[in-house]
């Protein structure tokens, strides 16, 4: 697996330093994108969705500080997200009723500090160990915190959680943060800052040593580093950013409850990070956007979306272990060799039957769903704007034919695409 990020970009040997604009092009583009997105998508739903995505991006990146950067698999990361939220909501309520002179944009800091404090506390326990033991400790801590949350009603508000009103606090240069657009910009700003901060951390001595711990903890000890200290710092920092994300979630939704700290949330952040790609800094960003979108959209498209999520998961780990970002990063050498035009046709050639196979599969799944669970709604279903009848053999036969034929063709074409890729990379290597 190639890890583009860890390759030194400025080796200080014979490299000329590019200008400010060129060096920061990505960041400027990101800032512009965040600024302009609401002009492209101005519906309230789009704003809510983007706000949620921004929060999840921070959350997923904070998780990747553990999984991708330090090699720690945690099953309880949502604990810090949730705790950050609870700290924020309490301070927000206190500030609202006590007229404290703190404007809304500063409240995610409270969440971050809460996440950091508990990251330090739980990290002290969990990071003494690594590997599976670490994973199991985080699982245990997650269960403990969620269960205790239902007992400690004053702080966690029981089942209902705690609500707040973000417009109650001091206004910020005249902005009251009632409209979703203002909230979007608040989240976008924090999102930008957090992405930048977390990216910067990967480029510090600590960030590099965390990579070393991920790759080979034993050797890291022999170059002078205490691996459990490295894990501890990574855990605490990731708690900090998860807490910020939790605070932003409170600002966005004005409610937080114990379920947000639970196993489902922890699982979904793993999903985001892994699907996006753990080996690349931007991977979790892609994953957070995609999974959030799927969470909101997939459930409208089909009732049995968990089945698709499960299949997506299995498919990803089996066929695309590097995640989406890994796939993209694989194209870097091809692009560097200017051979993209040689491979793209093959990709498209593979993609077409691949999509056909997926369509076939979804026809089969949806038809059997209509046939079984939704039987009382009659056998009629509409799929891809085509009316189908689950009791007739047509959709079944069509599904099988599409899935099998598409699958076989895909596998052939995939081999061709693979060859084309390797050829392009090899040629690039010679050139």
């Amino acid at each position: 697996m190639t890890d583009a990020r860890t390759l030194p970009r400025t080796d200080a040997i014979g490299g000329r330093r590019p200008g400010f604009l060129a060096r920061h092009a990505v960041w400027i583009a990101l800032a512009l994108a965040l600024l302009l997105l609401p002009y492209l998508f101005s519906s309230r739903l789009a704003l809510s969705t983007m706000s949620m995505m921004g929060t999840m991006i921070i959350f997923a990146l904070s998780y990747n500080m553990l999984l991708g950067q330090t090699g720690l698999l945690s099953f309880g990361h949502a604990v810090f997200f949730g705790l950050g939220g609870f700290f924020t909501v309490h301070v927000l309520n206190a500030a609202g009723s006590g007229d404290w002179p703190i404007p809304l944009p500063l409240f995610p800091v409270v969440g971050g500090l809460g996440g950091l404090a508990f990251g330090i506390l739980f990290g002290w326990v969990a990071t003494k160990r690594a590997g599976t033991a670490f994973a199991m400790i985080t699982l245990g801590i997650g269960e403990l915190v969620v269960s205790s949350a239902l007992i400690l009603r004053r702080f966690f508000g029981g089942e209902e959680g705690i609500t707040t009103d973000r417009t109650d606090v001091m206004s910020f240069f005249g902005y009251g943060f009632g409209p979703q657009l203002q909230v979007y910009y608040l989240i976008a700003a924090w999102c930008f800052l957090s992405i930048a901060a977390m990216y910067a951390i990967t480029r510090t001595p600590f960030g590099r040593i965390a990579n070393a711990v991920r790759d080979n903890p034993q050797r890291t000890a022999f170059i002078g580093y205490d691996t459990s200290r490295v894990r501890f710092i990574a855990f605490s920092l990731s708690g900090l950013f998860a807490g910020i994300a939790g605070g932003l979630s409170v600002v966005n939704f004005e409610i937080v409850n114990a379920a947000q700290m639970g196993a489902v949330e922890s699982g979904s952040v793993i999903l985001m990070t892994y699907i996006g790609g753990v080996g690349n800094f931007a991977g979790p960003i892609i994953g957070a956007i995609l999974v959030t979108w799927l969470q909101l959209i997939l459930s409208d498209a089909t009732q049995i979306w968990p089945l698709y999520v499960g299949l997506l998961f299995i498919g990803m780990v089996m066929f695309v272990p590097g995640g989406i970002a890994g796939l993209l990063a694989m194209q870097a050498p091809v692009m560097a060799a200017r051979k993209l035009h040689r491979v793209v046709p093959f990709y498209l050639l593979a993609l077409a039957p691949g999509i056909v196979a997926l369509v076939g599969l979804s026809v089969l799944i949806e038809t059997s769903h209509q046939f079984s669970i939704r039987a009382s709604y009659g056998p009629q279903l509409t799929l891809y704007s085509i009316p189908l009848d689950a009791t007739s053999p047509l959709p079944w036969v069509a599904g099988v034919v599409l899935a099998v034929a598409g699958g076989i063709l895909f596998m052939r074409a995939e081999r061709l695409a693979r060859d084309a890729y390797h050829a392009a990379v090899a040629q690039g290597g010679q050139g």
Partner: protein, 415 residues
């Protein structure tokens, strides 16, 4: 970092796809925000089925004010945050009537969101119709002009139940068992308070709180109940926490009477039948199948025939939609801004037996006659059994509307 740009492109593509799904507006759309996938789906789907059934009924009669009704399901995965985005989505699609019921946490979040949304967007007028969440805060501390509830709150149900129990001479020792969360505590607390007041001679031999939906083996609890010598159990448990408890009790041969809120819920009748607790389990709700009231039997029969794989329904949902449609017709408008005033104080012959109930304007709580029933082998004239067990609910007592009234702490803010 090149992938950063890629991810921005992805966002654009995804959001573009979302935008396309906006549709033209010609039907009256009602948003149903409840779990339609995952663990809560079996319950959420029941409400969805029933709403669709009601929509088909009214559409067959020409719709509401000439508009066809369409039910749009939004899967909230029983998660408050997802619920809010789904409500947002519904609003963006032009929906002003949100139906929701499962989970007090979700109900509080939705009610709070809808209220703030209407505050911040004058003229928006979105209403939250709640058919199942019965945490008393919803009609007390956190009551809202834009929230209506059709299920009797925990206090109301317990008031009625204890009025029934106090007549039972042979009742000596009561055991309270509840799920360890706000609703469970509300049920057990009310039971304790009301029993001590109404039957000081009854001894409460145990008060047990167990974690919510986490217990697989209830036999330790049953052993404890057995050891306490209780002759009666009062519980607010629902779902698997009730089914597993009853099953474990049946296996241990626990000889007690049960007073419950949710023995009619999915899975419980099967467990009661397996445990052989014929006519030992009571439930209190706003109506059962076998009340012998013609209009209800006809309507419920048609519903259950259509959804024979999950032949369950909520009488209160009929009450709710009948009232809402009536209010819309009276107001001549489907905008909640217009029909909400009509709902306040509205009277209705309730679904189960035609007795009158009313929507109290002070807290938007629907007060209705309640019925206490037990599950046993079907008798002559009873039409409906539960979950294909051959056992059905039969009436034990009815509680008139005026005996269910309780004061409220609601300080309603009206626009």
């Amino acid at each position: 970092m090149r992938t950063l740009i890629g991810s921005s492109a992805l966002t654009l593509a995804l959001l573009g796809a979302t935008a396309l799904s906006a549709l033209a507006q010609d039907t009256l759309k009602i948003g149903y925000v409840d779990p339609l996938s995952g663990g809560g789906a079996s319950i959420g789907q029941i409400g969805m089925n029933q709403l669709n059934f009601i929509a088909d009924e009214i559409n067959a009669k020409g719709g509401v004010n000439g508009r066809k009704v369409e039910i749009v399901g939004y899967d909230n995965q029983t998660n408050p945050q997802i619920s809010l985005v789904q409500v947002q989505k519904a609003i963006d699609e032009g929906i002003q009537v949100i139906v929701q019921g499962n989970g007090s946490s979700v109900a509080v979040a939705v009610s709070d969101f809808v209220t703030k949304y209407n505050d911040r967007n004058p003229g928006a007028n979105v209403v939250h119709l709640n058919y199942a969440a019965i945490d008393p805060v919803l009609t007390n501390e956190k009551c809202s002009y834009w929230h209506f509830t059709w299920d009797a709150s925990a206090d109301i149900k317990m008031e009625a139940l204890t009025n029934f129990i106090k007549e039972k001479e042979d009742l000596k020792k009561v055991y309270l068992i509840a799920q360890d969360y706000s609703f469970g505590h509300a049920v057990a607390g009310a039971a304790k308070r009301m029993l001590t007041e109404k039957r000081p001679d009854v001894e409460i031999v145990g008060e047990e709180y167990h974690p919510l939906v986490k217990i697989t083996d209830f036999s330790p609890y049953v052993a404890k109940i057995q050891a306490s010598g209780a002759d009666t159990i009062i519980t607010g448990n629902w779902g698997q926490d009730l089914a597993l408890l009853i099953k474990a009790a049946g296996q241990a041969g626990l000889d007690v009477d049960w007073y419950t809120f949710y023995a009619g819920g999915a899975g419980a009748p099967t467990a009661i039948k397996q445990a052989g607790l014929e006519n030992r389990v009571y439930q209190i709700n706003e109506g059962i199948n076998n009340q012998g009231y013609g209009p209800a039997e006809e309507r419920a029969g048609a519903l259950m025939q259509r959804f024979s794989d999950a032949p369950i329904y909520y009488p209160r949902m009929f009450n709710m939609m009948d009232m809402v449609f009536k209010a819309m017709v009276e107001a001549g408008s489907e905008d909640p801004g217009d029909f909400v005033p009509k709902l306040e104080g509205m009277k209705l012959d309730s679904f189960a037996a035609g007795d009158e109930g009313f929507m109290r304007a002070d807290d938007h709580q629907f007060f209705q006659p309640l019925y206490i029933s037990t599950l046993g082998a079907l008798e002559e004239g009873q039409k409906f059994d539960e979950e294909h067990t051959g056992w059905g609910w039969k009436m034990a007592a009815s509680v008139p509307t005026e005996s269910t009234l309780l004061p409220t702490k609601c300080d309603m803010k009206r626009p």
